[in-house]
Symmetry: C2
Subunit: 376 residues, 2 copies
Amino acid sequence: MENFTFDIIGRQGMARAGVFHTPHGDIQTPIFAPVGTQATIKAVTPAQLYELDANLVLSNTYHLYLRPGDELVAAMGGLHRFMGWDRPILTDSGGFQVFSLAAIRKVDDDGVTFKSQIDGSMHRFTPEKSIAIQENLGADIIMAFDECASPYDRAYNERSMARTHAWADRCLQAKTRADQALFGIVQGGVFSDLRRESAQWMAGKDFPGIAIGGLSVGETKSETWAMLEVVIAILPENKPRYLMGVGSPEDLVNGVLRGVDIFDCVLPTRLARHHAAMTLTGRLNLSNAAYTQDPAPIDPECTCYTCLHFSRAYLRHLILAREMLAATLLSIHNIHTLLQLVRLMRSTIISGNFDAFAHEFLAAYQGNELVPEHED
Amino acid sequence: MENFTFDIIGRQGMARAGVFHTPHGDIQTPIFAPVGTQATIKAVTPAQLYELDANLVLSNTYHLYLRPGDELVAAMGGLHRFMGWDRPILTDSGGFQVFSLAAIRKVDDDGVTFKSQIDGSMHRFTPEKSIAIQENLGADIIMAFDECASPYDRAYNERSMARTHAWADRCLQAKTRADQALFGIVQGGVFSDLRRESAQWMAGKDFPGIAIGGLSVGETKSETWAMLEVVIAILPENKPRYLMGVGSPEDLVNGVLRGVDIFDCVLPTRLARHHAAMTLTGRLNLSNAAYTQDPAPIDPECTCYTCLHFSRAYLRHLILAREMLAATLLSIHNIHTLLQLVRLMRSTIISGNFDAFAHEFLAAYQGNELVPEHED
């Protein structure tokens, strides 16, 4: 486990600034990981991500198992070499995708049987299989196979949490590679006692980091933050905490305020493909006619490649002309925005100004889309 | 016209190595210009093109006039600033696209009326209008408005050539900007006497460069090269010669052998979007199953970003997963291949080894797709 020590170098309230050591380099926390579902962050190259100083990317076990296949990735030298990315990678367990994407699935205490959405073939994931796939892929951080239940069904969440714990034990047993950090995942829906129990269970095991799963899956925001607070109060100080699938600017700030170290989300790249630019004050929809003749960059304060070189008018033109470059330039901007935000949080935690920063940020942030002056 | 001098710094046979001076920098010839139809080279950023050392790009007057509109581009500071490209740009006249793309068009001696393929609205291009649009766009090299006729109709080519000459005169009259070089275009179909007449006409006018149009539009390759030889024998030595719309590796070599200095073509980026990689020995279709587990780059000799970092297996995965990155990485490789080829031609012309290079190249080049060892 020496590979995966976590040093906390600054604190303010519950917020922490840290360094998580991995075989492919140090991760400065808090960190946001862009998602490369199919072994590529959609529409951007690894070189562009290096230029953004992205340090951790997530890729999806479920997708890579189905296509191109984890054995192919292993034969090509592992996921880092395959996708041309030599910094840390995190793979999820495949569990969440089986439960959210597979049209037909049947879960039992041993695992899940499901139908491929690519060719209709039948497959089975168990904790052991998930670990075997993730070992073939070779990410630095791998995840225990879990069940993400619908958040409000108490009885189901009880059974599902017990299953997630049993599966986490089996993942610990199945794991063979010393150069991968296996994180456990806390579940328990919106039920404080279940969340507490799950956090205690995970805290008692030999995981170098712990994730909080099953949040941002349909519950209210106040439930999200309440559950997060319950869980983090129990998790050990000296291990990184990963809030899965969360990535709006306000959620990142709210998460760090409550002690989260790692985030991932498809939001910046998905919004980019849907013409939306993220800024630290809110979202712009670049297809809006108000930007037709707008010579300004997305965000005049932003220092990303897109904002240094291109106008809103040009981005709108690319969108209307259905040019792929629109997705590339917006993805670069959106990823930059979230990375800037986590870097700002890190530096203000270290300097002791994080609380002020966070409260100003949340007061100024517009949850809804920013409306341009002259609306379409 | 001092902006646009052309210095020839090396010759071998008909081939020349030169420097064409423009307000946005020198163009080292022979040069290949990637095409950015809608003010973007599809799927690549200007930064990626700078990294490839691309020096000239082409953009289409017809497309930009229809969307976003040349006046909008002018209001945004011109095409260079609009598309974030500060090196030379060439715009075509819009003529070729009106004749090849517009569903409904009616040509008369004054101009062409056509229907927009975007919204069905009616528009009219004249020589004066084409120049006005190109002055709004602000490219370094602009083209006279011409008619590109079907190559085999003798009577039509006679009339059309006369019209092209009259229009070229009107373009020279209409032109007002001193920072743009207006090139005339030789037409004449597959008829040597018409080509000769058109070349003589263009050679007698005050154009800083002359294009050869109406080739690679359906005639045979031997007709292409025969017409090119007829034309170039007449064109002045001290002006750059631009063979429009030609861009396969063997065509570039055949063109330079016959004295061409400038080429443009959609081929490298279009092939990229159709999964084909260009190499200096032939084409690879990366969707082929033979590349499923192939750890080699597209071309082991190639030094482009794509070949230095990614395997054929990864590119095939991206293609099958319908990931945009496939088009980006293949476009980078294909543009690099053609730029490497023109750079090689330039250096061998200067060193006196071009004839040997060209003949070896043409002997080794496989016109058809390279077939991998284990075919699908």
